[in-house]
Subunit: 202 residues, 4 copies
DNA sequence: ACGCTCGGGACAACCCGTTCGT
DNA sequence: ACGAACGGGTTGTCCCGAGCGT
């Protein structure tokens, strides 16, 4: 962002950008270097100059995808000030734009793809998940401190439920080919948020 | 089950059984016929005698996995009579035994794996999903008819939320390596079920 | 022909009939037992009961094809009495019906297919070729004896030229997709036959 | 020829050279990439780098074989000036060196091999055939213009007959294992050429 | 005797990720 | 950054035999 990159670094970033999409669509073993060659216009040698192996490429691609997702989702919540507002905005954002990198949610895709074998990739996905959960938990705590959210509410539970419902809803919607499940999940989560808000904050 | 199978049909079923596990663990393109050869003890000729292609094998393997899951989950709920009881049992069953076929939930795995490319497999997963959603919706309707569930409750929403939360929770738990998320989701869903129950039924 | 065949022999003959067509179309290595299975409606075991190997099948199929060709071509010449008439009839017959077994001339196909490797098949083709050449040579000799063909004419040369021109013409015609070459060859061979006839016989 | 080739192009040409021989000997389906690997000393990857498929390899191999044949046959006729002389030289050349690429005449082999299925290869063979026929027809026309060949002679017929007889004769000779038929055909074609020559040119 | 069911194992064509010299 | 080559992997087809049932 604003960083000045020399030629090699720009190429590397360009490769990662295309790789992120390919890995997200095809999965680790379904992705192929040849498809990456086509998309980037580079030869194999040109790719392997920047990465030692497919696995390294995959992890960097995931990190890139996740950083894009974070950037987009957080930017959306930037102008909202209250924790509760941010939580509602996050839920709505998932319905409006469920997919940042084409191919679905990179976190879920990678989690499912890497959970048997490929521990390196799995670790990166886990880190991303914990960032997300942690962000929500922090919002809950902040909301409680600010009197916006009731004292008894468990940050862990709320975070788990929100992430689970959003991801599960996205999976259903993508498989069904419609947004029905996502909309239902959104309505449910708004109701959940209503229920954890303090009376005076409503 | 009690069916009498001749030799070929037994072999075919044995292949599918192993294939279900392999496909569920590795995904479609990560699965290889050679691994299936090792597991079954058969040579290629012996496998391809029963299936025309990897894709046919994959769809049959998924169908088998799904039938196993249904059978197990439904058997668990067999002795429960009320719709609400069945719903609670379903939620609890997911925590107690989240995985029937090793490698995770075959439905979610296949949904994620097949959503870009492989429309045949995707169609089978979609059918399974709709069976599940439909089963829950039917329980809700039945509960309403029996006065156990409040009239205003939307079967579609409830079904979507339950499935989404369970699957999303499972994804989180598998990635985290612990059952925290699953437990939180269970608690949340029980609260949801409490909230849709009629006062007198509690 | 008129022979009474029991069940096994009838099946065997039926297999050969289909095999002749397949081998003639696809060549030895291009032909596959599975295609033969489809055509015959038999399973592999049912085929291999009657033949020990693909090679045996191929040679028997060729012999069958050649016998069909001979039968057809000779029957056509049956009512013609003079040697010269038979020669002209043979040339004309090639234009009218260049192919008895579908896929082209079995003799040429097999000769080309088997000339590198597959000596058994090659031997059968050679035998067939010699039969044909011998038949023509015999006609020439008979024609000379009967005063229909000039004394100085070489049977070997005439036979070689006729067979070569007919087969070469057929190859050209099949490749071109039209009968031009066959017609030119026929005209030429008729001129050749004119030139070897004795003056009084014309 | 005098072209400067870089490494890849040299390898590619080397592969084609070996492929031409293999395809000419074994036919399309009888040829195998493994044999090509042995002959070239390359591994699979090294071959498939230069060609996308067996079919592409086969057509390029045929084109190469045909170019070799043309080059040799035409070089032989280079010092001969009259059309009639070139025709006689062509006929004689076929007896002296009937085969340029080992395995027989690539044109006839490919024509027979590809006439059922493999339309791409067939098209290349057809093009080659038409080049040859066209070359002879051009010689005939030129000979007529120069008064060396009688006016009434049909170029098409003469070309068809010459090619048919040569190819047919070659087939017989290769099958018989001797040159008898080729010699007879040569004698016959010389007589044919005598007969179409104008009196004064003899 | 005949035909089918089942399986073996070699081999087919082709693509993979990767390395290395230039 | 490319171009060339490697070698092991992929799915799938080949021909064939052993054994069962009719």
């Amino acid at each position: 962002v604003g960083t000045i990159l020399n030629k090699g670094e720009k190429t590397r970033e360009m490769i990662i950008r295309h790789a992120a999409e390919i890995f997200n669509k095809r999965g680790y073993s379904g992705a192929s270097i040849s498809e990456l060659m086509e998309k980037t216009g580079l030869e194999k040698g040109g790719i392997y100059r920047h990465f030692d192996s497919k696995e390294e490429l995959a992890t960097e691609a995931f990190d890139y995808a996740w950083s894009q997702i974070k950037q987009y989702r957080l930017a959306m919540l930037d102008k909202i000030v209250t924790p509760m507002g941010k939580l509602r905005g996050m839920v709505d954002g998932f319905l409006e734009k469920p997919t940042i990198v084409s191919g679905g949610c990179a976190l879920m895709n990678t989690a499912i793809d890497a959970d048997d074998g490929n521990p390196a990739l799995r670790a990166h996905a886990l880190k991303a998940l914990n960032e997300w959960l942690g962000y929500i938990e922090a919002l809950i705590k902040q909301g409680k401190k600010q009197g916006e959210i009731a004292k008894g509410i468990s940050p862990t539970r709320t975070a788990s439920v929100i992430v689970a419902a959003l991801e599960g809803g996205l999976m259903i919607s993508r498989l069904s080919g419609n947004r029905v499940a996502m909309k239902e999940v959104r309505a449910h989560l708004h109701a959940l948020l209503d229920s954890i808000a303090t009376p005076q904050s409503l």
